[in-house]
Amino acid sequence: MVNAADPNAIRAVRAIIARAKRWDLFFALLGILSLMVGVLTFSVLFLDMAIQGVPRLDLEFFTSFPSRRAANAGILSAWVGTVLVMLVTALAAVPLGVAAGVYLEEYAPKNWITDIIEINISNLAGIPSIVYGLLALGLFVYYFGFGQSILSAGLTLALLILPVIIVATREAIRAIPQSIHEGSYACGATTWQTVRDHILPYSSAGILTGVIIGMARAIGETAPIITIGALTFIAFLPTAPFSGEPPAGLFDWIFAPFTVMPIQMFNWTSRPEAAFTVNAAAAGFVLVFMTLAMNGLAIYVRYRLRKNIKW
């Protein structure tokens, strides 16, 4: 036993504490260092891109098609393509992913079949994106005959991010307390009424987060889009609704050929002239900005949705 009043014992205790605290310092430094590797690398990359690219940004850059002359080239077809492909992706992936997640959480019986499905959904998220590209080339482009179109690209990316949305939906649903769940059933609600009136409204913030994470991944994907045959040089826009050849419809554009931002960047970086590298940096800056804007929107909407939900 150490007698606390003994000065020697107090000195011994202080020595033990000092030695133990050296480890605190060591791990704090190690942590800061690890953090810096990530943060600094990204900052340097982003700054380098911004310094090169931002001076190149003007209105014309957004309203011009690609060109053989770097000074005239712009990203009009690329950003329109990216926006339209993302629209198709979201329209396809969100309903499918949310419905699958709700089914697995609320309706599916708990047995070995659903266990296998669950394990495989997590596995799907780890499949290389080029494999999705090959699948889509066979299925959407040739078998369904959608061609090398915005529709094919959007559906491919939808498949790619489906697991992310399913997993996010399930986690958002599981975050709803059991007592709320039981409260709804105790009122005499059916499963569908419980899903419609409680589960979906209360989990929408979490689902939205998953959707944005998925979309942020999809917006930068290049490999599967190249696989299904996106053009690298395209000097026209998809047909606007009701403007194509008769019978013109609202959705003519989904069958149009297209390109997207990462492909435009890739194309420019592979050119020998330095001026195209500057174009690529400018396009990269726009792409990163689009992703950050999406994340910012998600944070805001999530904040608005969560404000009225307290358990």
């Binding site: 019986p109 708990k110 307390p177 007592s179 709320i180 769940h181 039981e182 409260g183 709804s184 059933y185 105790a186 009122c187 005499g188 609600a189 059916t190 009424q193 009136d197 409680h198 209360y202 009225n308 939900i309 307290k310 358990w311």
Partner: protein, 267 residues
């Protein structure tokens, strides 16, 4: 399912509302209720007491088929007959949603939905297909009055239910359970998360409510059972040890085990 005939004599000639008959219930392989029988009298408060894990909440949650929500739960014999129509609540052909439409529940921890005060109460009516605004308004008001909450919330019905105090939240949940005009309301330790003042107001409310509805309450608090209930059942290890008129059970228990429990020598 074969229903054994009622074995419990009516007490004090009161009318029976429901009858638990030789009920067996399993959580997976665990035998949680063992041939439990007890009567529930119309417009009376019946309380279930016993130490933790004795099966009192399990029995309560049989009444609105809450166990059906989870896999592995099994009603293994006997039943709960609801009068006057002699429906066995646990029969496989009886829809659990129909049962929950007739028998509502108030939980241990207040669980208002993250919706407005109005919508919380209106929810029980909306699931029953009520759409008429005036009718909804009237029913919500009378339910909130019935739960002694109207005077406190009448001018802020659009606020979130979660903004109320704990005791008010629990009365909101009582209003929600009351709005649909149920035949029985189940209370699962409704005051265990509340302070003594809120507890007193809920107890007072439960005594008033028996004018309108039959009440079955699980409580871990024996004084509470003694204060508010007309009949009390003592359960232990999944078995019904003793059922009787509350005053008699507390003053002159028939079984030694009951006496040990209520005098604090055990549990």
């Amino acid at each position: 399912m074969q229903i054994p005939t009622g074995t419990q004599p009516g007490v004090e000639g009161a009318v029976l509302k429901a009858d638990v008959r030789e009920l067996d219930f399993y959580y997976g392989a665990f035998h949680a209720l063992k041939r439990v029988s007890m009567p529930i009298h119309d417009h009376m408060v019946t309380s279930l007491i016993g130490p933790s894990g004795c099966g009192k909440s399990t029995l309560l949650r049989c009444f609105n088929r809450m166990h059906d929500l989870y896999p592995g739960n099994r009603y293994a014999g006997g039943g709960i007959v609801l009068y006057p129509d002699d429906t066995n609540l646990l029969a496989p052909e009886v829809d659990p949603i129909e049962v929950r439409m007739r028998i509502s529940m108030v939980f241990q921890k207040p669980n208002p939905f993250p919706k407005s005060i109005y919508e919380n109460v209106a929810y029980s009516l909306r699931v029953r297909g009520m759409r008429n605004k005036n009718e909804l308004d009237d029913r919500v008001e009378s339910a909130l009055k019935g739960a002694a909450l109207w005077s406190e919330v009448s001018n802020r019905l659009k606020e979130l239910g979660a903004n109320l105090s704990g005791g008010q939240q629990q009365r909101l949940c009582i209003a929600r359970a009351l709005a649909s005009d149920p035949e029985i309301i189940l209370f699962d330790e409704p005051t265990s998360a509340l302070d003594p003042i809120a507890t007193a107001s809920i107890e007072e409310l439960i005594i008033e409510l028996k004018e309108k509805v039959t009440i079955l309450i699980v409580t871990h608090n024996m004084q509470q059972a003694a204060r508010i209930s007309d009949f009390t059942a003592y359960m232990y290890l999944g078995e019904m040890v003793e059922f009787g008129v509350t005053d008699q059970l507390f003053i002159k228990p028939q079984k030694k085990a009951t006496e040990d429990y209520i005098t604090g020598r055990f549990g």
